[in-house]
Symmetry: C2
Subunit: 337 residues, 2 copies
């Protein structure tokens, strides 16, 4: 690989001159600059990112921290689409991305250590256990961090608007005439808390008060538990006319139960999901759901992180809330008087 020195020799100038030309410093004469650029091209010069990083302490590498035990977020459509748009935006800004884990060579390392080892300029954190001490340590280090779907005080985060999302969903099913609206929710996270609170609040505002057994605790992305909850709901003396599922995927578990029970969707029972994943919009009847704007989530996270890295002094901590949008499918039946 051709280096600055090779170009310098070839052109009969110093390494410093070549460096300056290639970095666009204005103090080198036009003729020299021309000559240097030409030889650089001729020699197929590529800067060496390691050398540059060593000198400047900037790698133009962003760390991405996803869960890394068992199955990673990669296999989860919501997160993989967020990651995808994060990647696109990061690359547009000249940054590459590297996954953070806890291996350095054969040795075990904390996330923070791994970030330091790789000298990442910043880290995006999503889809992890935000109470993990290693995550907390990383967040409170001097490395620029942006989190998705969780906010650390005095830091930058991007979160999907679960409050308005749930509100839209409940208001919509209400407007379709539903008064007995059940909610199967996911595991105990801040996301779930937002949705659950919003569900209760919106119901109250609309003057309906769901009985306790209309609210069932399940897990995200788990068809089995959701199936069980669905069964419980339809066996109630006064079953709901509409069920809101933890997410689109787990709805599949419920759908099977409904079919087995001889209940048609939406004629006999209405349902809605959450996420807006692709395949359920292809499947008929098209699932009514709240599509999270994964595209914006990833893109904004990347923008914020780059901003924080490049203008640390003038970047304020804060949370960007990204609204989702209601996808009106065919699974909510209009009912009522």
């Amino acid at each position: 690989m051709a280096s600055l020195k090779d170009i310098a020799n070839e052109c009969g100038v110093s390494v410093a001159t070549v460096s300056k030309v290639l970095n666009g410093h204005k103090e080198i004469s036009g003729t020299t600059a021309q000559r240097v650029m030409a030889t650089a091209k001729e020699l197929g010069y590529m800067p060496n990112s390691a050398a540059r990083a060593l000198k400047t302490n900037r790698t133009y590498n962003l760390g991405v921290l996803f869960v890394d035990d068992t199955k990673s977020g990669l296999t989860h459509e919501y997160f993989s689409t967020v990651l995808d748009s994060f990647k696109v935006e990061a690359e547009k800004n000249g940054y590459d991305i590297t996954f953070i884990n806890h291996n350095i060579g054969s040795r075990n390392a904390t996330y923070l250590e791994h970030c330091r080892y790789r000298c990442v300029d910043g880290v995006m954190i999503a889809c992890v256990n935000f109470f993990d001490p290693q995550v907390i340590e990383l967040v409170h280090s001097d490395i620029p961090v942006v989190t998705i779907d969780y906010t650390f005080d005095n830091h930058i985060s991007v979160i999907s608007d679960n409050v308005s999302g749930m509100q839209d969903l409940v208001q919509y099913v209400y407007s379709m005439g539903h008064r007995r609206v059940a909610f199967i929710h996911g595991e105990n996270t801040s996301v779930t808390a937002s949705r659950l609170t919003s569900y209760y609040k919106t119901c109250m505002e609309l003057g309906i008060s769901p009985p306790d057994d209309y609210v069932q605790a399940a897990l995200y992305h788990d068809t089995r538990v959701t199936a069980r909850c669905t069964k419980a709901l339809i066996s109630l003396p006064e079953p709901p006319t509409c069920i809101l599922f933890p997410d689109d995927y787990s709805y599949i578990g419920g759908a099977n139960v409904l079919r087995e029970a001889g209940l048609r969707v939406p004629e006999d029972i209405s349902v809605a999901g959450y996420d807006g994943i692709h395949i359920l919009q292809a499947l008929s009847p098209r699932l009514t759901t709240l599509k999270q704007d994964t595209d914006s989530l990833g893109r904004i996270a990347a923008q914020k992180l780059v901003e924080l890295i490049e203008y640390p002094k003038i970047t304020l901590p804060g949370t960007t809330i990204v609204k989702g949008s209601l996808l009106e499918g065919d699974t909510i039946m209009r009912i009522g008087e």
Copy 2:
């Protein structure tokens, strides 16, 4: 960040000594080694990968090249699961992964240039257009490369066994009594070629010869075109009793058509997919499909790449063929005399 020099000063030894201790060279006395290790830990020493890379020309970074226009392979379940297992295995071996694209800073670069810039030790290539000149350039460079689902002569590749996969599928539906087996295939790639050839060959061996209009050209992952093909098939004077779809996802397009036509699966018509993606195993009726072993594909690709990097002299080019497995779901009806 503490450096070797800090440790050296603290211990009153030279930088060289510290380096040797930390790299486990045997020539340093036990007592010194102990002391150095203790101070290293105390100071929270982390090696600097950039400095190390600069000196050794090894980054312990693997490039991953996925399609990077519009939507990346990240959002495609088959590839994202392959990537996931690749990542896990790479990390187990002490390598991190970095996505290859064609940006270097704000400048446009070829894939090869990007790899050189980042000094990756090797590259895994999957889910790209293998006829892209930039991909070919990269493959034929001096950078170690492993490809997935495509073989370059005299290089290392890992491919899913589409021949035996298709054979298993056809033999299975035959054994269930089907003689009129249609095949909707994906776009023109080497994967499709294998499956198509295997379909014809297996049919012939079983003594059935599908008429031309039983073979329909569609696209992978596209429900619309698949829907059209499905419609065509069921409108034939003598429609098939079983349809093999390009992949599980595109089957959804067909499923909708079948339902609208009043055909029940599997009572009125049998179907099978390809891939074994998660959600279709949750949905009832469970789709009969050929599950590709994405776990092995990614893992073996990582192993081979690491081997090629670490033992270039004794690593032979060649192709590893990874068999899939038939997932017997509920969408193939037993028929016949």
